[in-house]
């Protein structure tokens, strides 16, 4: 099910009523688990057994692991990681892997033949796999005892607001919320519904209404011009943020309506000064997951400069691959790895720039960060490496881009202006979350804001378009 569908409006109203009708916390949790499975089945009921199987086996093995001694404990962990990654590999990467293997072998004169599995990617598989893995690895690390309650664990994995596109929540963030009774409060409902509306506005009006038509049109062009390459890049930079942050905002809002608090996943990322700062603002739950379960186990920054660079690059390459089975995603991850290495390298040299005013360095760093991130999005969006490479060449031709600006359509200009407004808002509210903002807002302005959101969402009809991150 999608937050921007009329189905969700009906579903959420029923869930809220049923959830608040019962006073028993056990009943409330049963309702939440059932509705989460219903939410998932609304996309494709055939994949519900996979979700249930995956969470049940992880819950069971994690319990066994916690009772085992050292050697056996490790064996359990390896089994859990193997099972989870095998399922993920089969559904997400098998065709990509066979294609790559074919290409490599054909270079040596071997022909493997064309194998193409017609596989549908289960919705949210990357997200719930990471949920489960973090739980099991933390038990292996003896951070906490496993839950004995299957329903509680299944609810942690399948809790519908965050099931299909995050935030990737840790058990430590959810355990108390699942075990301790809670209910919808007036403020939770008020703030939660407003966040839900804000998220829908980002998705329906901005991502699907303003940016997607422009980005889709430009990335479908065979021979893109320089000005179109720049506008397409800006449009996709706006679209990917509004689409994904919109989903996260909806998720946080929906959870808040039910009395749950999910961690913030985006903190005005286009205001980032530097790439490390960007990853503390963009898809925070994924970047912290990669840090805790990949970068630090690889050695982090503890083994010298070169190892740190290697670990950064590896982490970001795997982060890229997590997004999808394509070379463009791997290159996107590689670019971000290179950016992070470059930033670490540059930090050592800034001491020689003491004669440049601090503000100039900050402004330049912010602008450079934004441009580099925008460029990386080209690889993320491109259909192929060839397309991204041709975009790159067009982006470089700044003269052609500037001279072509007067020729572009009103729709393209609108998307560019809206993109600038979003960047401006990120800079303006750099360290303030939507939730804080809503709580602080004067009620009259709040009424104006809510009315504005409701009217714009209602007046931007369209199909219920899948969120971009659903495919991951």
């Amino acid at each position: 099910m999608q937050f921007d569908s009329l189905t969700f409006v009906v579903f959420f109203a029923i869930v809220l009523l049923a959830y608040n009708y019962f006073s028993s916390w056990q009943h409330k949790k049963n309702i939440l688990l059932l509705s989460s499975y219903l939410f998932y089945s609304a996309w494709n009921p055939l994949f519900l057994p996979l979700l249930i199987f995956s969470s049940t086996i992880d819950w069971w093995l994690a319990k066994k692991m916690s009772k085992s001694e050292k050697g056996k404990r490790k064996l359990y962990l390896i089994s859990i990681v193997f099972i989870n990654l095998s399922i993920l590999f089969y559904f997400k990467y098998i065709n990509f892997f066979l294609d790559a293997l074919n290409d490599i072998l054909s270079g040596f004169g071997f022909v493997l033949g064309k194998y193409e599995f017609n596989i549908i990617l289960p919705l949210g598989i990357s997200f719930y796999t990471f949920h489960s893995l973090s739980y099991c690895i933390d038990i292996y690390r003896k951070k906490f005892e496993p839950t004995q309650n299957w329903r509680d664990y299944s609810l942690y994995v399948a809790f519908f607001p965050q099931l299909v596109a995050g935030p990737i929540v840790r058990w430590t963030q959810m355990r108390e919320q699942i075990e301790q009774p809670r209910r919808s409060s007036a403020e939770g409902l008020g703030v939660g519904l407003t966040l839900l509306l804000l998220g829908l506005f980002e998705k329906v009006v901005l991502a699907d209404g303003v940016f997607a038509p422009v980005a889709n049109q430009i990335f479908a062009e065979n021979n893109v011009s320089s000005v179109h390459a720049w506008i397409g890049t800006a449009a996709f930079t706006g679209q990917i943020f509004c689409d994904f942050a919109g989903y996260s905002t909806c998720a946080i809002g929906a959870a808040l309506c039910l009395g749950f608090r999910l961690p913030i996943n985006f903190r005005n990322p286009y205001s980032a000064v530097g790439f490390a700062d960007f990853w503390q603002r963009w898809h925070i739950s994924l970047s912290t997951w990669l840090r805790d379960y990949l970068y630090i186990p690889l050695g982090g920054n503890r083994k010298g400069t070169l190892f740190t660079y290697r670990n950064l690059l590896l982490t970001m390459l795997i982060g890229g691959l997590w997004h999808g089975a394509a070379w463009t995603f791997i290159i996107w991850g590689g670019l971000h790895g290179a950016y992070l290495i470059f930033e670490r390298f540059m930090k050592k040299t800034t001491k020689y720039l003491h004669f440049v005013p601090y503000l100039v360095i900050v402004v330049f760093s912010w602008f450079f960060t934004l441009l580099a991130i925008m460029y990386a999005w080209v690889w993320f969006r491109a259909e192929s490496v060839t397309q991204a490479a041709s975009f790159t060449l067009k982006l470089i031709d700044l003269n052609a881009a500037v001279s072509g600006f007067s020729m572009i359509s009103a729709q393209y200009k609108t998307s560019l202006y809206v993109f600038f407004i979003i960047v401006f808002i990120h800079l303006l509210f750099k360290n303030i979350s939507f939730e804080e903002l809503i709580k602080k807002l004067n009620p009259i302005f709040l009424i104006i804001l809510i009315s504005f959101l409701m009217v714009f969402i209602s007046l931007t009809p369209g199909g219920s378009n899948a969120f971009i991150y659903f495919q991951f």
């Binding site: 189905t7 009906v10 609304a42 007036a186 008020g190 729709q411 609108t414 709040l446 009424i447």
Partner: protein, 338 residues
């Protein structure tokens, strides 16, 4: 007034119920104003025909205890068949409109034939050109959409959406605020008033008196003549040989208790002359019906059909829809085809 409040002195502070009541009130007020403006400009609400709407109707072939009566074809059936008349006068059937404007229907027929749960009656609106093998695949992406993309979520979403679109103009994307802003920025003004209207069950009407029918007729003629140059008719033998799978599809449906009737709807003027020149009736249509032992009817064989005026030489105006549907079904019954 301050943007932020630092204390709870304001009488609305933290009263979320009141905040939402006021917000809803203002939003509804704006939406009513928006809707009334377009109504005052002479626009009316209409369901938007999309792949999701088609898929929703496709899913309805199982949803009634009555036998489904499925209409396949293109615009001539979509705009010509009166679903309300069928519902009221053919009560043993549950009518489902699956015709798609501008698309020949063979892939939808194949899909229903391969669907072992389907046992209804199909009226296939098609001509000899549409039966030609290269034209078989036009509706494939609708069929794929139904099987691969149309989820239970989309089913409920589309059901509610089509009822909203049937009542409210502003739920039509063409009248969305972003669409209007873009039109206004590029000096395009308001959208054209459409001459077609659709209901949630895809019952559609075409008003041919508000458009330049002569220009439309010329356009259809030009498209047809160009297509006959680009894709000349295969030999009758080849054409019939390509249609062997169609016979199997029909037999599959019949074996499950269903039936298939091919129907070639009326086309007049230069279009029918050109069409008959490309695909002479006795070599193509008649051979298909007789040699393949298939139920079929040509509109020119139905007495009284010639009395209908087709303003664009190709489509029935909505004012004639009921009479046209009645005549067609009276004839199908009289000939024991239904």
């Amino acid at each position: 007034m301050h943007l932020y409040t630092s204390n709870s002195s304001h009488w609305l502070n933290k009263n979320w119920l009141l905040i939402y009541i006021f917000s809803l009130f203002f939003s509804v007020l704006v939406l009513i104003g928006y809707e009334r403006y377009f109504r005052s400009m002479g626009y009316s609400a209409s369901v938007v025909d999309t792949k999701d709407l088609w898929a929703l109707q496709r899913s309805k072939v199982y949803q009634s205890k009555k036998k489904p009566l499925v209409f396949l074809g293109a615009s001539r059936t979509l705009f010509g068949i009166d679903m309300k008349w069928i519902k009221n006068n053919m009560q043993e059937y549950y009518p489902v409109m699956l015709a798609i404007n501008g698309h020949y229907p063979m892939m939808a027929l194949k899909d229903l034939a391969k669907d072992t749960s389907f046992n209804g009656v199909i009226i296939v609106d098609i001509d000899s050109r549409g039966l030609s093998e290269p034209n078989h695949f036009m509706q494939q992406y609708y069929v794929d959409h139904y099987h691969d993309v149309f989820t239970p979520n989309k089913y409920i979403h589309q059901t509610i959406l089509s009822h909203l679109q049937n009542k409210l103009i502003f739920t039509n994307p063409e009248f969305g605020i972003l669409s209007l802003i873009n039109r206004s920025l590029s000096d395009q003004g308001l959208p054209n008033k459409p001459n077609a209207n659709m209901q949630p069950n895809r019952n559609s009407k075409l008003d041919l008196l508000v458009v330049d029918s002569t220009a439309l007729a010329n356009n259809f003629y030009n498209i047809l003549s160009q297509d006959l140059i680009d894709n000349p008719a295969p030999t009758p033998e080849q054409w019939l040989s390509d249609l062997r799978p169609v016979k199997r599809w029909v037999e599959d449906i019949k074996a499950r208790g269903g039936d298939v009737i091919f129907y070639n709807p009326p086309v007049y003027g230069r279009q029918i002359t050109l069409s008959n020149k490309g695909y002479p009736r006795h070599l193509y249509w008649d051979a298909f019906i007789s040699k393949m032992d298939i139920k079929g009817v040509l509109s020119e064989d139905i007495p009284g059909m010639e009395k209908f005026v087709l303003p664009d030489e190709s489509h029935i105006d909505y004012r004639d829809k009921k009479r046209y549907t009645k005549l067609l079904f009276d004839n199908l019954k009289k000939e024991n085809l239904l």
